[in-house]
Symmetry: C2
Subunit: 329 residues, 2 copies
DNA sequence: AACGACAGGTTAAACGTTTAACCGTCCTGG
DNA sequence: CCAGGACGGTTAAACGTTTAACCTGTCGTT
């Protein structure tokens, strides 16, 4: 592993000169340039980024802290983040918090020790003290004092509401997500607001983000008493698909189902899930570009960006049946 | 951001002493110890890992290069790798090659510049020149001169073969994966070897790892002329599920299907996929522990480890029907 | 012809650590 | 009572860079 020193010696020139041609900081005589470059080629020089960072104080690495890589929501996000980070000349240090607040703060401090230039943070739960020595941009969660990029969850809720109405559903069941989660709460209330006055909420049951539905939900689903159930999540929607099958209901003929997230396999289940897609790639890309901007100018005004979501219609939600269930001719 | 210097001044002691109590390198008087620790607490000292690495030459970071994070196979693997890396006191720099050999070598050289202590590598395709300045452990792919951790694909093929036989299938269709991929080739030949003499291969069509089956496969599936089709992949298996539905065949009554990988949603499709599960977590964990061992002792003998896989039986593969299709009473 | 500007190069300091070498002091054992 | 550790601490060098300051010659202008 050749160092600046070795190149300098091989090219018969000083260390500083080599550094200058490497970085293009100062111009050099063509002859010298040639000698240096050839020496670099010959000896295989790669700059030591640690030394560089130490000297300049400007680290070329970013941190990423996420709750749980295993969540189908994340891989596409992480991929976008890593790709654009690298395009911008940064390297990405990834840390999985394992859905644990304590491990999350450990991760954040370790990143501080690593002198990252900034971090992209998807907080596991509630905000914690925020005096970190680097700029932070949060994704999908607002944290006071941080730049933020979020999907437009209220638009998502609205879209679902409109679609439900357009399909003619008038009695709707609701499997809503954790009330404490702002994004879930946003789409719930937006949905409620758009259907208010046009449709009736037959029932609402709060559920965790999982395909294993709680007993209460299962019982409801055995005789749903509504034509559509809108779910907190695609995972939950899959649970509903199963429960419906077990109860002998046909989706979407007897019961329509709408999810949220558009996980990669939303098109693989039977029937394909109607759901709303978050712009994961754009979310990731914009997160790191705003982080980059903040690094360049720490004084710039707070930047909060919300990206539009899209309804993707598949087969799990259909127009309401012309005849009530059981009375079919 | 307090440095050693600041702590030293605040505690009225030399830099070296602070360094020593931080690292426990040398013992200090209780009084001094207390003063240093309290200063650290007060000023919030965090060691600069770049400086540390520069001085000691021992980097505390590992690299990870993977073909495509978006592949459902990877998240669990990456999570395990990151977790155990951190347990061992390392930080993980993740790079997605985007299934592109060129970006892959870029990633590898960037990691060299970063002076990582070692790299976990899942090669995108074929091996390339291997004179990297750090130790490498490959996952799921053998590369000459590298430590390796792989899943036992021949066992996987054997397991599938035995299961097929046990279910009584005697005519089998094969949707085999890319022949160039050693793992796919391994399980194919192992499967073939175990069923040889007991069952007949009705047909074999090579397909890419995707749910969008090529026309040839679709045609075959319209009238499969066999009781079981074994697929290169869970993705492929899902494609078969669809094609079967479109052709009016019922799985598993009319046709059994077996996949490979046990992707997270293998249990969500209808019917749940019978498939074989790779020990992703163990693969990841062992990859970094062997990397760790190699870092500690560069001279240790090459380590190649193959981990057992398990057959997971769900509903997509059933005992062969007692009556040939169409002749059911 | 004198001068300044400039281009091309070097020297040395600095970034924040670790660590070898060194230096008192105090204790212990012969 | 003295030699010699052990102990607790300091000084300074080194890791591989970047960069300010400096030096030296060349060239274009007056």
């Amino acid at each position: 592993m050749a160092r600046l020193k070795d190149i300098a010696r091989a090219a018969g020139v000083s260390i500083a000169t080599v550094s200058n041609v490497v970085n293009g900081t100062k111009t050099a005589t063509p002859a010298v340039q040639r000698r240096v470059l050839s020496a670099i080629e010959r000896l295989g020089y790669l700059p030591d980024l640690h030394a560089r960072t130490l000297r300049t104080g400007a680290s070329r690495s970013l941190g990423l802290v996420i709750p749980d890589l295993t969540n189908p929501y994340f891989p596409a996000l992480v991929q976008a983040i890593e790709t654009t980070a690298r395009e911008l000349g940064f390297v990405l240090i990834v840390m999985d918090a394992g859905n644990d607040g304590e491990r999350e703060t450990e991760a954040l401090t370790l990143l501080a020790s690593y002198r990252v230039a900034g971090v992209v943070w998807v907080p596991v739960e509630h905000e914690r003290s925020l005096d970190w020595p680097y700029p932070i941009v949060t994704v999908d969660r607002m944290v006071p004092g941080c730049d933020t990029v979020v999907a437009d969850h209220v638009q998502g809720g609205t879209l679902i509401g409109r679609h439900a109405l357009a399909l003619g559903h008038r009695r709707i069941g609701l499997l809503s997500g954790p009330r404490a989660l702002p994004s879930a709460a946003d789409r719930r209330s937006a949905f409620l607001a758009t259907v208010a006055g046009h449709a009736e909420i037959a029932w609402e049951i709060p559920v965790p983000f999982s395909s294993d539905l709680p007993r209460a939900a299962l019982q409801r689903l055995a005789d749903p008493d509504c034509s559509l159930v809108v779910c907190a999540n695609d995972a939950v929607a899959v649970g509903v698909l199963r429960a419906a099958r077990d109860a002998g209901l046909r989706v979407p003929d007897d019961l329509s189902v709408i999810g949220f997230d558009d996980v990669p396999w939303a098109d693989f289940v039977e029937p394909g899930l109607t759901t709303v897609r978050q712009p994961l790639a754009a979310l990731g890309r914009n997160a790191v570009t705003t982080l980059h901007a903040r690094i360049a100018d720490p004084e710039r005004p707070l930047h909060r960006e919300t990206l539009p979501v899209t309804l993707v219609e598949r087969r799990s939600a259909a127009p309401v049946a012309p005849y009530p269930r059981g009375d079919r001719p």
